[in-house]
């Protein structure tokens, strides 16, 4: 699967509070509304500026903090095609796979704000069209590939009636 879009860069330690702030707690049962505030505390204008298909590019420990699955969900609802980071916090990473949001571990120092990227999920490559460089991302564990290929954990269970990992 090929994903194409523009890079929006964020620094290290982007927390789930940056992504889905607690003051919008009352919107958690209304994901399209909550998605209008996605990443608001990291970049207040992000939701208005980005175009569906674009990439969120972080540094180290992306998604640290709370277990709120709303965080990867609203990134997806906003139309972001994948999150790229040097490393991810554990719960965010697992949640992203569960909701079908690709999360790619790679050297994001080689990506700048506004770069156009072409990601080949099956080959494990990110082509930075601004620099001409090809960046590799780490393969997911098999268990997660199975879940992601089924379209997330709920779809995995719907398909098999149980865990088939």
């Amino acid at each position: 699967m090929i994903l194409k879009g523009k890079a929006w860069t964020f620094g290290d330690d982007i927390s789930t509070d940056h992504i889905a702030p607690g003051r919008y707690f009352h919107l958690r049962s209304n994901l399209p509304e909550l998605a209008k505030h996605v990443l608001e505390d990291a970049d207040p204008e992000f939701a208005g500026k980005m175009t569906p298909g674009d990439f969120v590019v972080g540094g180290n420990n992306f998604g640290l903090g709370s277990s709120r699955e709303h965080a990867p969900r609203i990134i997806r609802v906003a139309g972001v095609s994948a999150v790229l980071a040097k490393s991810f916090a554990r719960i965010f990473f697992r949640n992203a796979i569960n909701v079908g949001l690709p999360v790619l571990i790679c050297d994001t120092d080689r990506i700048s704000a506004g770069d156009r990227l072409r990601v080949d999920l099956s080959r494990g490559t990110i082509e930075n069209q601004a620099t001409g460089e090809t960046i590799r991302f780490e393969p997911l564990p098999d268990v997660m590939v199975t879940i992601l290929n089924d379209g997330g954990l709920a779809e995995h269970i719907r398909k098999h009636g149980d865990f088939r990992l």
Binding site: D13, D17, R23, R90
Partner: protein
Amino acid sequence: MGMTLAEKIISSRFGEEVHAGQFVVCKVDVCLAQDGTAPLAVRELQGLGLERAQDPARTVFFLDHAAPSPRRELSNDHMFIREFGRKTGSVVSEVGEGVCHQRIAEDYAAPGDIVIGADSHTCTAGALGSFATGMGSTDVAIGIALGRTWLRVPETYHIVVKGAFQPGVEAKDVILHLIGMIGADGATYKALEFSGEAVVAMDMSDRLTLANMAVEAGAKAGIIASDEKTRAYLEAQGRGHQYKPVVPDPDAVYERVIEIDASSLVPTVSFPHTVDNTRTIDQAKGIKIHQVVLGTCTNGRHLDLQRAAAILKGRRINPSVRLLVVPASRKIMLDALRDGTIETLVEAGASIGTPGCGPCVGVHMGALGDGETCLATQNRNFKGRMGNPNGEIYLASPQVAAATALAGEIADPREVLQ
């Protein structure tokens, strides 16, 4: 091959010996979600046609983050959760009963259990010798319906806390010190296993504080072997029969061993906006604080309130500060009412909130104004955490919180205790 606590507990639930790095699908004992994460979990189950709980008596929904509800959307979420609880026979812990992790320690988790929760601080229950870990709503939903989850057995960092604390220093200072040392991602995917003289000497209250913050170093779980203190705690909750010894093998293999000398620690403060941005009290003293929060799943227990009350007794807080106290559970509030702790705190100028999460999550009550500073006993100080990205949050122990409330600026409790 010797096993760590994490390996022992997961092996026991999986039914055969497993070690770090292996993937398993295994039985879970307790599932929890709270008012911020349960609605999504319930909708997932409805979407799958799996509106059931495998073990309803140990499936618990907590109304604690927005309790009492500040607005109708959240009141409607509460109604939705109550209805699912009624349909499936699962437990709903009502408004005012307390914050989920404290309630799980009081009434549900036991040594050797696997606890999964749609809240990152689910790791708190590791203090009882459980393997307890936070997950998202979908993972917990599936755990509720099937009674099982998938896990990768984590590698373990062994955290050995030797010696004894100086007066004015406590478990919160150990865990802040550790996170400052290894970083907010210093233990990502790992289990932390706490031991050593200082941990053995700790009451369950302080052990819960240690385990609570394991996730702030990125860890999957924070676990403490069960012992006589665990037995005594369970007995005090009327659950003595659930005690069993859960200890690591002497030849367990740890990925890393970190030794901390408790006697060398001083009160420690996390500066905005990350938990690992720690300084010693000398570097923090004198910073002007507008709001002090004493409470939460990290430090809202009876012992925490008592320690603060010992500093505040017979004194008044600085008029430039408001002091918000939120007991972690109704049970704790009752204990603190009965022994006069609440009276001492209120006489000193504190206002008391409904047992629950309080201002920590920024959902309601205690939101900061633009440019305001808060010193809180909670576990997180991320930007925007307490309802305003233009506020600044410092994290510290209940004793630092009390000394700070008296001074109106960050203060060293050891100077007040002298």
